[in-house]
Amino acid sequence: MNTMEEKLWNYIDGTCSDEEKKAIDILIAQDEVYRRKYEELLALNREFSKMELDEPPMAFTYNVMEAIRAEHAQQPLKAGIDKRIIKGISGFFIVSILLLVIYVLSTTRVAPVNLSGHLPDSLKLPDIKNYLNKPVLEGFVFFDLVLGLFLFDAYLRKRGVSKQG
């Protein structure tokens, strides 16, 4: 059950219901004890509202900003590199390779195609059928599987790190 003081604080704070407010209005008007207590708490509330904030040291903002700047400066180089620089470098190389390919294609003379269906006698292709036996194919599939699992693991780790960040 609320005490008189608790009810009066709720009344002063404006956190009581309309019914409670009306009841307290009547009590303040009619009951001398209630009225005195109300005036005492109201004066106290006014005092509390006049409290002053403390001042931090003069260089407080400067110190915080310096700490933030220092933290930025300590970031690992990997995190500090601007992605635009990476994109610029890769763009330069892609354009260079494309220009090189275009230049090579434009300057290469294409020899007439042998349409007879027979390869020239001078050209000897290796007999790959000898190499494509069962153990080689199994080894190749196993290597692919290990590589696939390794890349999947790396992807999941990267995803986990970015979620934590």
Binding site: E5, F48, E55, F60, I68
Partner: protein
């Protein structure tokens, strides 16, 4: 001179890379953050450390700030958690945070410290002295309610408790503050006689 921009505008500018905007945000809130930190730590050096740590933490997670609540409410909740962590680290025995005896010592030392300045003691001096003698939680609730202009719901969000619990705690905190004030004033009157 402080910026006329709103907190949200300053946050957007900060997120866009303008660090000066964050400096403005600090200037705007530093007095309250420092006062609140002081309510917990009861010591200016520790309060400065807590307040500084709080602004750095806020800067780091500024992009996570949901604009559903006021920036101040979000900031004060950082002050609360930072201060609690600081106090736990400082006092190995966590129970001593809630031990009123700790603050009785402070009460006695503060009265000895300021005996000679009786003429300069204003009403706000007595009020600040009484607040300094309260438990950190009580002092924080009083500060948030009267100086932070926070509603019961906002204080609840800051301290991680229900608004009704805030109401009860606020009532008790005001009662304790009133008792401390009365006791300090009696002590001063005796001293003057």
């Amino acid at each position: 001179m402080q910026s006329k921009l709103s907190d949200i505008e300053l946050i957007e500018q900060t997120l866009a890379g303008n660090q000066a905007a964050y400096a403005d945000l600090i200037k705007r809130h530093q007095r309250f953050v420092f006062t609140l930190a002081l309510r917990f730590s009861k010591n200016r050096e520790d309060a400065e450390e807590i307040a500084q740590d709080c602004f750095i933490k806020a800067y780091r997670s500024l992009s996570n700030f949901q604009r559903q609540s006021k920036f101040s409410t979000w900031l004060y909740s950082i002050v609360y958690t930072t201060a609690m962590t600081f106090l736990r680290k400082k006092r190995v025995d966590t129970d001593s945070i809630d031990d009123e005896n700790t603050y009785i010592q402070l009460e006695n030392s503060s009265s000895i410290h300021d005996v000679n300045s009786a003429e300069n003691k204003s009403r706000s001096y007595y009020l600040n002295q009484a607040i300094a003698q309260l438990l950190p939680d009580d002092a924080a609730i009083i500060t948030l309610f009267y100086m932070g202009e926070q509603s019961l719901e906002e204080i609840g969000n800051t301290l991680g408790i229900e608004p009704n619990t805030v109401k009860v705690k606020l009532f008790r905190a005001r009662q304790r503050l009133k008792e401390k004030l009365e006791r300090n004033l009696k002590h001063e009157v005796k001293e003057l006689i």
